[in-house]
Symmetry: C2
Subunit: 116 residues, 2 copies
């Protein structure tokens, strides 16, 4: 083992491609499925359902089915879900500060002389 | 568009499953391919190659082929790559503080009465 190589005792995968976007969409309050679909352009109903279920499973969101006709189901962040805003903000800060360097690197990489 | 739903003008996907682990393994200095394989138990050579290429493309690591016999190739973090430690630390802090809540939520979810 090399210095600095930490191993996770519990390897836990948190979130998928849409996790951050969904959490941001729920920041202002509860949303219905269709109210999430609109801002999350490009997400299929199947993937949104799976993403919401994964977030519920991890305790980040709560699903509430209101006993109304027609039935109304809402999703909202739990207190645990709201704790994610802090590390997410650290990545947003990073993005703002360094995204252009990353994009420059990609541009350079694509145009470099190929090596074996 | 709902309040709080930010859309990315440039959607950029940073890193895959192994990104964080590789970056941690390179923290102490340059490493050869085989020196990464050992601590990253479970990674296949194909996936390690792809992951290193993606990190190089994004400007996070530099690949140096030393003109020696036998040839020696080393990977090391660039200054841009080192800037990732700050947001990564924010997530490690989150993990330390909240991982048990997440695992409890998963446990509860798995054992709850299934709903439609």
């Amino acid at each position: 083992m090399f210095a600095g190589c930490e191993t996770d005792t519990v390897p836990v995968r948190i979130g998928g491609k849409w996790t951050v976007k969904i959490i941001i969409c729920l920041k202002a309050g509860p949303r219905r499925f269709s109210e999430l679909q609109t801002p999350l352009r490009g997400i299929t109903p199947k993937v949104l359902t799976e993403s919401l279920r994964a977030l519920e499973r991890d305790g980040f969101i709560m699903r509430t089915a209101h006993a109304e006709i027609p039935p109304r189901v809402e999703y909202e962040l739990t207190p645990l879900g709201r704790t994610l805003f802090e590390p997410m903000a650290a990545f947003c800060d990073w993005r703002r500060a360094h995204l252009s360097e990353l994009l420059d690197a990609r541009e350079t990489y694509e145009h470099r002389v190929p090596t074996a």
